[in-house]
Symmetry: C2
Subunit: 582 residues, 2 copies
């Protein structure tokens, strides 16, 4: 491959909208180009790397007997209506109509499509288990596309779906997939930490995310300092199990109403009352639509804790923070709600264990600019209301919490690269994808699903491996292995460059020759920027002495090596470095 015959639009300038390193490098090294918000052209170098990432994924999927298919992007809305996701997926779903007015969507994922396929083609337990996968473009109408390839509207995904006649079989495939993921990220040269994620309908150890720790990431990983535990923030919780009966008896009778004029935040209230946030009960009003209007839910956590909506939704279904005007109309004094509002308004009470253990707490008194001190659950909540309250972990864990095994915790940011998930029968139930077991009994197929974002693997590599001069590709996913840079592409240098290009290509290397009529300084700067792992510099002086300069992108120093036998030497080095590390 010759630079002059391809399109590598490098740039010295940092794009104005690019906050994170990977976004800057993607643009500056000419890997991608933005065409509209969250939609990108893949240019030759970027696409070559993507193809290598996809090939690694493909090899590891095939190695565990997953079968590659290709499902369409254009899906009938009807299928998504059957599982409820046509509405549940919300505005993230791209919707359109065809010329006959039929409703269609652009697939952001393919559970419905693949389940419908299996329903049509598989009827017996003898045909199970079966794992299908694809590497394919997905569409998601993000509210705020940003951070280059991190939050995009059209992107690639490897999505795999497994189908089983038993939980044991699902578990076996899940384990195989988990191990394949470990190999994939390792082969791509990326650090990916498997963390426990939302457990889903099957419960237990049913979901893991693979996260590359780095500051540009949008996910938070919670890890035990001793490495004994890792989970994402949505999942990480404490193991404490309490019930309403555990509500302590406080200093009964000492409560009083306090006017707190103008104190609109928890910090304000605590400053005003000179108490720590940890004695406050934060009370938030949620609602869920039902046929006869909104159902209300009052959620309580300690003032220094944050509600975790993923946990709340697992307990209470698809609730959302209440619409303020509607909540006010129903009698809630938003901003000053206290748990005792459930004594007078019909609402489900949900209490986090740490909030339940407070005595003589501070909380809103259901009136503007008024708080209540000396709040105690047994004193201020009617007995039947307290009795029917749900006590459950509904908050984000903090760094001062402990892992379930008691170990100290540390938080870090990261990029989610992949996810393995025991789905259960959600989709096969909804679409009636059943099989007959060996006694001719019909059951829903049990499913797992498994995703990887190849673009995010690239982002992780750029974020974590680059230096101030540019990209440093892992050999396995580098667009090219070797960059040949003649100081001037003519005379002997040209001949040597062309010969090396041929020879190295024949040895299976991907080679780029910088044959541009550019100053050496420009060529070297571009070389560092695009980050090809091995650079061979051909200068007149060296060539006269039968030598070439070999410079590895991740090393400071270059060395002069004999031209004789250099191709074989380089190929051996590349092959060693691109094979699976131990």
């Amino acid at each position: 491959m010759y630079w002059s015959k391809t399109l590598i639009p490098t740039s010295r300038e940092v794009p104005a909208d690019a906050d994170i390193i990977s976004h800057q490098l993607l643009i500056r090294a000419g890997l991608v180009r933005r065409i509209s918000a969250g939609v990108y052209d893949w240019l030759p170098l970027g696409w070559k790397s993507m193809q290598k990432i996809m090939d690694i994924i493909r090899q590891e999927m095939n190695a565990i007997d997953a079968q590659e298919v290709h499902l369409p992007a254009l899906l009938p809305a009807e299928l998504w209506k059957q599982t409820g996701r046509y509405t549940d997926y919300g505005p993230l779903l791209f919707k359109l109509k065809d010329r006959k007015g039929s409703e269609m969507i652009l697939g952001p994922t393919h559970e419905e499509c693949v389940t419908e396929l299996m329903k049509a083609c598989v009827s017996s337990h003898k045909q199970l288990p079966l794992t299908l996968y694809q590497i394919q473009g997905k569409f998601r109408d993000e509210a705020r596309p940003r951070n280059g390839l991190l939050r995009v509207r059209e992107f690639f995904m490897k999505d795999a779906y497994s189908f089983h006649s038993s939980l044991e079989s699902l578990h076996e495939t899940y384990q195989a997939m988990y191990q394949a993921y470990v190999r994939i990220f390792k082969r791509c040269g990326i650090n990916a930490v498997p963390v426990e994620a939302d457990s889903g309908p099957i419960g237990g150890d049913a979901s893991h995310e693979f996260i590359c720790p780095c500051d540009a990431g949008e996910d938070i990983i919670v890890r035990a300092v001793d490495g004994s535990y890792a989970a994402n923030l949505e999942r990480a919780g404490n193991a404490r199990q309490l019930s309403a009966a555990d509500a302590p008896v406080g200093n009964t009778g000492a409560s009083s109403r306090v006017s707190t004029p103008g104190a609109s935040s928890i910090a304000d209230v605590c400053n005003f009352l000179k108490v720590p946030q940890s004695v406050l009960i934060k009370t938030l009003v949620y609602s869920r639509q039902s046929d006869d209007g909104p159902r209300w839910l009052v959620a309580c956590v300690r003032g220094d804790h944050d509600i975790n909506e993923a946990k709340l939704k697992k307990i209470a279904g698809n609730v959302e923070l209440a619409d303020e005007p509607a909540a006010r109309a129903a009698g809630f004094t938003i901003g000053f709600t206290g748990p005792h509002i459930v004594n007078v308004l019909p609402a489900q009470l949900v209490i986090d264990p740490d909030a339940l253990l407070l005595t003589d707490a501070v909380t809103g008194d259901n009136e503007v600019d008024v708080h209540l001190t000396g709040f105690n659950w047994r004193e201020h909540i009617q007995e039947d209301k307290l009795h029917t309250a749900r006590i459950a972990d509904i908050r984000n864990i903090t760094e001062s919490d402990k892992a379930p095994n008691g170990a100290a915790l540390v938080f870090s940011k990261g990029i989610e690269l992949g996810h393995v998930f025991k789905l259960g029968t959600k989709y096969s139930d909804a679409l009636a994808a059943t099989f007959l077991d060996d006694r001719q009994k019909s059951s829903s197929m049990i499913m797992g699903c498994y995703g990887i974002g190849p673009g995010r693997i690239m982002v992780a590599a750029l974020e974590t491996l680059s230096d101030a001069d540019g990209i440093r590709w892992p050999m396995s996913i580098a667009p090219c292995h070797v960059l040949i840079t003649p100081i001037k592409y003519d005379g002997q240098a040209r001949q040597v460059a062309d010969n090396l290009h041929t020879e190295l290509s024949q040895l299976g290397m991907d080679v780029l020759v910088d044959d541009r009529d550019q100053r050496p300084g420009v060529k070297f700067k571009d070389a560092d920027l695009i980050g090809i792992p091995v650079r061979l510099v051909l200068g007149d002086k060296g060539l006269a002495a039968g030598q070439v300069e070999v410079k590895l992108r991740h090393m400071k120093q270059a060395e002069m090596l004999p031209l004789e036998g250099i191709a074989r030497h380089i190929a051996d080095m590349v092959n060693k470095s691109r094979s699976l590390p131990d």
Copy 2:
């Protein structure tokens, strides 16, 4: 690969909606599955073959220094508005809006997108020529999706675009692309005839289609019996050049109005008048929208000829057959229009040379159920109207016409597999994609575009190479090379099957083992249906004698060969057969 671990839903039944062989086989052999009209799932076997077709295309594109990219499916409508195709493309274009209300389309092709990319990245003649290609999903909202993969709404396309600073450079790349196409189809084992196609804006020898002759095709190829000429029907024409001055003088004065009650077709009229269709002038009314209402066009061909709208549009722009009510309101007696209507209504007259040469012809007399006999151009058309008439080839050629070189012609049907096209500057003009030449003068980049439908290559293989029992894959694009069929998958047969699977895979063969618990008859029928080129049958008796049965799908007879060394023997055979034929 083991049959029990993959998804090959074979079927004995011919699907009700499948008229053509390829459509039947695609479904019956479990290669694809329809999800909605013109939208298909690619299943494991079909997808394996598609990947091989795509790899062959990729190799040949890379060999001529085309650079692979990947452009998005989701394109901003604005870009298509700039070239006018947002409206010109009509209802074939899938349109949608994102959550912010921005108009987007799903790309049916990528001229705009790639031109915009080149505009942004290339500014100097030194960066040209450059050829970019992609293999990617396209979307087209067909009015009547049909014939399996022949007319679909979501499909794969290899589309390449070349950019040049001179016509010579375009010509060079065009030739290289043409030769690459010849190699691609040959390597895929498909007969593809290059035919002259619509010449486009550059004129001359500027466009070729590659067509696989077969009855299921929707295109018509016009070929000289001596092989000296081949064109598609839209393009094929006679070289006769006439002008209005060539209109002959007829038997002046012998014309008369004839009542032709109930004769509504040309055949009816000719039966009624007892004249051949070749003395009739067929007159059709077309219109084109303009700011002040429709502009009318009256097109005349001989009664036994058909108007070719592609030719008409090249002369008259984007005209369409007139809307009947609108044409009647304007004064046209649709069904009985004669050319002399231009004497009284404002309309452009276009006459095909063969119609111009008629004397004493029959034509409608612009009144219901009335025809005119003895029509002559000089007599019945006002002199200034005849003078301003366009005389041009606007009809389909027929088998009784001659090739431009005088050779006799033969028609046949075919499937269009690919198209190479000298585009010129249509898109670079519209999007201002310019470059500076060596004298710093700015010009629009000159473009070529080049498409192949990988799915149509598969269709062509299925249509032309299958037999009554099923598919006969060319080795190069077969999903697997070898099918191992143990009569019963247990005992020695199982062990031999597993060993052969391992050994052949290590030799680079793609192998499928039919490990199903099925009767031999079912296995053999399925084997013929899915058409893997080499079948190894493992039976107890043969194995006891150290032999396996080797059956080639395209041969009637099987032969028994020693098990010893069979893997090497088969691999040699496969490698010989999948390499580029001479």
